[in-house]
């Protein structure tokens, strides 16, 4: 063993080898430049979106813990018998998806069509990791989506993502407990707190309200809802300057912290992502929960349909109800290296068309991005979630800046710090503001 350390030359080289381990990370993204120029591989004469043959690779993480992807693929292949779709499963975490796609696409490969978070549009567009769809599809196609969705997918007046499905913040409540105690579904935060306290002091539930307070993107979503309810904004309209350090924000953050200090929310909510909040609500330990539409099925199977209610979010007293719901969800992006552009676009068009979207809504309770499908009777009557969705007031995150990921990190890490009690709400907001400004200017780290 000692021999390893004896010769100084060997010692240095051993150290270098270990040092290398911490550095190989840096080179993961390297790849030989590809000469493949976009669009060349689609056969001339076939208008994009109407291809009838070819092969498409679709990269997507599992959706809604179901066989949705393969169901969609077989329906598509039935409609287009000469187009074959190969499914590539992406990692489940958004971070891991991002690093996998970045390295593959910049290396000249990767799936032809990929599903990715709605907040990636500008960042991927700026890095030319996504092909502008608006170069292939006309404005009539983009006007088929629910309002606001295309704005979030636009960068430098080109559209980079086709909205696939939508996520929105919803208030889940215990229908049975509210009815038993003759309490209405809360329309204000203050009402939610007082009803929580009533139910908690009657020992019907351990906690009042569970949500997502961990240091990750989900907290930015929850934060944007509270902040917008209080009348605050994240950035100026061009997303070049932060406006987070405001009176309204202070009101929102102080309220969020008070949910914890008053015991309405568990102290551990500052470590909750989706699974933890769902576990507490599904375990019958909380009266209210903020969650996405996909929480309905597991909640019903855990508690029974008679106990689970869904409603639009509450707001602060004095504001017009309902409160804001943040828009999330996934877009379909096109790889600039797609081998068959025409077939890839045909597939994207079909996934966002009425057949696929209706199937997703009625069979899998997903929120459709297609406006006509979304408001159709068949869909709104198919589940209480889709009925509640019809009444939500939406707010998006400023994902049209390519620096969104960094700006959001500045938000959630500081808000999380205030929730944990390590920083005062005031100090957290001023730190968030200056870090957001650095992020939005695209400089520093």
């Amino acid at each position: 063993m000692m021999a390893v350390l004896a010769g100084s030359r060997k010692r240095v080289s051993a150290l270098l080898a270990v040092g290398a381990m911490s550095m190989t990370l840096a080179a993961c993204g390297s790849g030989a430049p590809s000469t493949n120029s976009p669009g060349t591989s689609s056969s001339p004469g076939t208008p994009p979106g109407n291809a009838t043959s070819g092969t498409v690779t679709w990269g997507s993480a599992p959706i809604a813990r179901s066989n949705l992807r393969s169901t969609l693929i077989s329906a598509f292949e039935k409609a287009y018998p000469h187009i074959k779709v190969n499914l590539v499963t992406l990692p489940t975490s958004a971070n891991a998806q991002q690093s996998a796609l970045t390295t593959q696409i910049s290396g000249g490969s990767g799936p032809d069509v990929y599903t990715g978070d709605v907040t990636w549009a500008a960042q991927f567009a700026k890095a030319t990791l996504a092909e502008p769809l608006s170069s292939y599809l006309g404005s009539s196609y983009f006007s088929s989506f629910a309002p606001g969705l295309i704005k979030g997918a636009t960068y430098n007046s080109k559209v980079y993502g086709a909205p696939f499905f939508t996520d929105e913040g919803l208030l889940y409540y215990r229908k049975d407990l509210l009815a038993q105690n003759h309490l209405p579904v809360p329309s204000t935060w203050q009402q939610l707190v007082s009803e929580s306290k009533t139910l908690q002091s009657a020992h019907l539930v351990k906690y009042g309200y569970v949500w997502q307070g961990a240091s990750y993107e989900g907290l930015t979503c929850d934060w944007v809802e509270f902040m917008a309810d209080a009348g605050g904004t994240l950035t100026n309209s061009a997303a070049t300057k932060s406006t987070i350090d405001s009176k309204a924000s202070l009101k929102a953050l102080t309220f969020m912290r008070s949910l914890i200090t008053s015991g309405v929310s568990p102290a551990a909510v500052s470590t909750y992502q989706e699974p933890q909040s769902l576990a507490v609500f599904d375990g019958g330990q909380a009266a209210f929960m903020r969650f996405w539409p996909e929480g309905y099925a597991p909640a019903v199977s855990a508690l029974g349909a008679s106990k689970v209610g869904v409603a639009p979010m509450p707001t602060f007293a004095g504001q017009s109800a309902p409160g804001y719901s943040v828009v999330g969800g996934q877009n379909l992006y096109l790889n600039p290296h797609a081998k068959n552009m025409a077939a890839s676009i045909t597939f994207i068009k079909w996934l966002t068309g009425s057949q696929a979207q209706t199937m997703m809504a009625t069979k899998y309770a997903m929120v459709p991005s297609n406006a006509a499908v979304r408001s159709s009777k068949a869909v709104t009557s198919s589940s209480p979630v889709l009925a509640a969705i019809a009444k939500t007031k939406l707010i998006s995150r400023p994902s049209y800046t390519p620096n969104y990921t960094r700006a959001s990190q500045a938000i959630y890490s500081n808000v999380n710090s205030a929730l944990s009690g390590a920083t005062s709400p005031k100090a957290a907001l001023s730190a968030a503001q200056s870090q957001m400004n650095t992020a939005l200017s695209g400089s520093g780290i």
Binding site: A20, S22, L25, T128, L129, S215, A267, P336, N416
Partner: protein, 322 residues
């Protein structure tokens, strides 16, 4: 490694040779031939090492000194800059992460060294069941960190965690172990110490069994107590072994990534964010490959300097042992 191996081979060949003293010129020729053969045999392996180790290192350093833009066709390097390193120095987040990684390394390595040595001393005395105890000890070390970190996150969970169930009779509210900076840092250190102490134990135990018995007999004859035997005999002789354990542990602890990635994601705030975690996020979430490469390169350089300085301090002990 290859050159000493080749010369050792040539010595053996000449030692078992028929001629008692071969002519000098021929022996030289033989050595050279074998050396060439050695290089030829190891060339493929060295090519692989070059491709997966040397190239990435050089490429990372180049990235860290360039304006880097990521595109659909790979990296575009836009000329030399020191701006990536300047960005680090100007970043409070980087400075905190550096301090955190440093402090974390010092505390965990020190505690692991103390507990690991104590375990090794006990194991060495153990007559029966030593093998079984060793096997038990090795379980944490052999477990993949991602899995053990998940297990610890169940233990620390602030709502239904095992630890909260244990302390429940003594506290009014469940404790959110991963929710406040100090408790999260301690919680993470405990998980690390639990996992890595066995590694230190094994190294120290290997050193202990090699210590000569006569010194202990002499100490016993001189009437030394157990305590002074440890400090006057065991510890000085064990120092090279301990130095080796420290070196391995420092190199590993400074690259801390998987434990915070799974257990805390760096939260609350940035309290448990290590340099490696920051580098990953800067590169793959923010697409800032220049500053990200600067974080990787500077981290490697810092740990290299720390280890070389450490070795210099311990050189005499190591030299005498070797």
């Amino acid at each position: 490694m290859t050159v000493p191996a080749a010369s050792a081979l040539s010595e053996r060949v000449s030692a078992s040779g028929v001629e008692p003293s071969p002519p000098v010129g021929r022996r030289d020729l033989n050595t050279k031939k074998l050396a060439r053969l050695g290089w030829a045999f190891s060339a493929p392996a060295m090519l692989v090492v070059g491709a997966v180790t040397i190239f990435p290192i050089v490429f990372s350093v180049v990235l860290s000194l360039s304006h880097v833009a990521i595109t659909g066709n790979g990296f575009v390097l836009g000329g030399f800059t020191l701006g990536n390193y300047r960005a680090l120095l100007n970043s409070g987040r980087w400075r905190y992460d550096l301090g955190f990684t440093f402090g974390y390394t010092v505390v965990t390595v020190l505690v692991e060294l103390i507990i690991g040595t104590a375990f090794a001393l006990v194991l060495e005395r153990l007559q029966a069941a030593r093998g079984m105890m060793m096997a038990l000890l090795l379980i944490p070390w052999s477990m993949i960190t991602v899995i053990s970190a998940e297990l610890w996150s169940y233990i620390y969970n602030g709502t239904y965690g095992v630890l909260n169930a244990i302390v429940a009779p003594f506290v009014s509210h469940p404790i959110v172990f991963l929710g406040t900076p100090v408790s999260a840092i301690i919680a993470m250190m405990v998980a690390d110490i639990w996992k890595t102490t066995p590694f230190v134990t094994i190294i120290v135990l290997a050193g202990l069994v090699m210590l000569p018995d006569d010194l202990y007999e002499a100490a016993e004859v001189d009437g030394a107590s157990g305590w002074s035997t440890f400090w006057k005999v065991t510890f000085p002789l064990l120092r090279p072994t301990l130095a080796l354990a420290v070196l391995f542990r420092v190199l590993q602890a400074f690259g801390l990534f998987d434990l915070p990635y799974v257990l805390t994601s760096g939260a609350p705030g940035h309290a448990t964010e290590s340099l490696a975690l920051l580098g990953y996020e800067v590169m793959f979430s923010y697409f800032q490959f220049g500053p990200g490469a600067a974080i990787a390169a500077s981290t490697a350089l810092i740990v290299l300097v720390v280890c070389l300085a450490f070795l210099k301090v311990f050189r005499s002990q190591i030299g005498s042992e070797a």
